[in-house]
Symmetry: D2
Subunit: 245 residues, 4 copies
């Protein structure tokens, strides 16, 4: 009986969250599809079920402690057809260039809340639930901004650097307890709906394979979960071959 897998931050069907759900389902997992918008996560869960997989949507605002606790209550149940979750991917987040001097204080805060605080809530709850079992994988979608702050991205870099530290502290504390915590630095545009809608010209300029393919990213997430515990990866970067860095 396979364990459940949870993906947090699922939005449109062609986004990374949905891709992770499909990938985990294709490996036989019962997938908890967590996101803010009921219609979106229902569509993702439905499409998995209609392809023969198992999935349920769970409406979750990751910035609300109660929602996160409830999500884990569901994820850690032992059903007749799936065992308690041993894999969770934190893929919630937001990004957008903003002028530093005119940025409103509550905008700066809102980026932190989604990009960092939600990751803390999920990470802490995962640690609480997984540590007594001595197993589990916690994967965070990170960004280059976590390592390097550039103009127009102070709100983004500050929040993603915070998330990275949450992941790093967790890895050092909970690795020896059997929990695999990894931080995936996604460096480039993701080939999903958002980028095509918002940045059509930039996408064209990138050329073939110039955006990160969602299945390729999902391969990396699954690979991390599958690693032998004698050779775990804590951090890796993913980047289109032609992306300058």
């Amino acid at each position: 009986m396979d364990a459940k897998a949870v993906v947090v931050g699922v939005g449109p069907e062609n986004g990374l969250g949905a891709g992770l759900c499909r990938r985990f389902a294709s490996e036989g997992r019962f997938v908890i599809v967590a996101g803010r918008t009921p219609e979106k996560i229902e569509r993702v869960a439905d499409s998995i079920v209609s392809s023969g997989g198992s999935a349920i949507p769970v409406v979750t605002d990751v910035t609300l402690e109660a929602d996160v606790i409830r999500l884990f209550d569901i994820a850690m149940e032992a059903d007749s057809d799936s065992a308690p979750a041993d894999l969770i991917a934190y893929n919630a987040g937001n990004n957008q260039p903003l002028d530093f001097r005119t940025m409103e204080a509550d905008i700066f805060e809102s980026f932190w809340r989604l990009n960092c605080f939600g990751g803390f809530l999920i990470g802490r709850e995962a640690a609480r639930r997984f540590a007594p079992l001595g197993r589990g994988t916690v994967l965070f979608s990170g960004a280059t901004g976590a390592l390097r702050g550039v103009p127009k991205f102070a709100h983004f870099a500050a929040s993603k650097a915070g998330l990275r530290m949450v992941a790093q502290c967790m890895a050092r504390e909970f690795g020896p307890l059997g929990i695999h915590v990894a931080h995936v630095i996604i460096d480039g545009g993701i080939d999903g709906e958002r980028v095509h809608t918002r940045f059509a010209e930039a996408v064209a300029a990138k050329g073939h394979d110039g955006l990160l393919n969602i299945d390729a990213i999902s391969d990396a997430f699954w690979m991390l979960h599958s690693q032998h515990r004698s050779a775990w990866t804590h951090e890796l970067d993913l980047r289109p071959f032609k992306e300058s860095f």
Copy 2:
């Protein structure tokens, strides 16, 4: 006529904030002593004045936007005896080891609010005021936790890493506009009241010069402000000679 200098996060007389105030005053600056506790900042300002320097206390909660704006309104005034500020040091912050799994969500948030969000508010306001003048120095007290997250310090590392990114984004954007932004990584215990009160045994174990001398840290802050603009430092570490790292 000397420009004003602002120190944010001033507490007890033998803390780093007070030390920075004294140092800036000894260089002839009119010092704005900003902190949350009226009695503490009054004592620091009084002691500067009674030594022949110039200083006023300004009660400031750096996590409140209105307080930060008001602080700069005062700092940027051109008085009969001092020019608008061209130097601000952000020294507010908190640190304490905390267990990850039992940490309350609002504790995690409160560390971010003081260690990172306050730094954003101060940094943004400094950028707004200094950029039109094409000059000014903004110094942030940072920590090794900003670079490396270890067990019991996720709340601290996440917030300090965020502050570091605010500083880095500012440096890249505002350096070319004439604003010097620097991040000082203080790696070790500071030889002030707090450490002696709370960690007397650890202090004894460190031995002579095993804690960072406050005047020595203040030297580094003043040196950063004094650097020629053709050779500015953005980041440096400060560490007792016997501190392991």
Copy 3:
């Protein structure tokens, strides 16, 4: 018809080099087993052949330019049963704690020659051969010492940091030309002959899965070669779950 794969720095049968050879062979590759000691590489090649795979030993001193060129001459041949190589792993290297003050100059140099210069020769030759074809993977075995220098390891850290920079410069230049260059930070003891012979006590202290399993490391190398070019990894760490870092 599969392409050849080259492993440089192959020694004992239970070392990492031999493990990489076996793994590449198991994926159907004709493996070029390169190392300094004829008996050792012959044994590795023989064992692959006797298991139904394809492999030949090529005696190579990676610190000699002529040897490296000759190795690639062989690797890039199109035989009746295998295409020119599109995968090379640089696994040559040495490590040993040494006192800084009493270290002989030629010892410092010899570590550089094997850990860094050989990597340059291999990397440069790979770039020369792969770039015109617009494809190929170059993998370097790296170490934490490349990122952090600690007492007794100046010779090691200096040479491994150099190797890391060779890999990084190559990735930035040749990635857009279709060559995947990756640097694998192996952080911990490898579960091979050497560690058991030399450090038996330390091994026992590490406990079960406290050393990096060679098949697990080889999984990571093969995974890197298999990545879709829209989501390449340049750097990742591998570490036993209980290893402190």
Copy 4:
């Protein structure tokens, strides 16, 4: 009686090495001017002496162990007018963009020999001589290339990253013994002869204060030597205010 100070890698009078010599002399030090070209170091020493300072030239090839030992034999003498050296700056080095694929192996090696191996020889000798005395400062001129490898600079980045690790290992081992080891990341063009001769157009494009002023860099070196041992800096960057990074 002041201690001697040594500057290694002194060339033209308007280069950084000469600037460091002048600065140390202006602080009252008897300066050992070390470099490869007799005429150049004689001119630097003469100009210091004619300005009322004390200096002697010592012809030194830092890549030759015997030269380095002889240099320290001279530097550690207690003369009637100066005490044994307690300060040494390693400023030897070379840089130049080179194509990776056509770079000769001996060119790659020669960059390592000057940028890294010479630093090891100087650092090791300094450790040998300073450690028994429990004091001394060792400063290394570093570069951004030590942290980040970009196309055309593999030879430079690999050697400078190696030098950085030598400095870091030394700091961790010898700091607690009273030796201050620091690595100065010079990020930008230095306003000396070489850059004006070779890159006149680029210099013009940088504009006023767009190159690092040599006196400003020298300030940083002297400041490092002057730091109180309770707050030593191991690494700092220096960069023109308008330099993009």
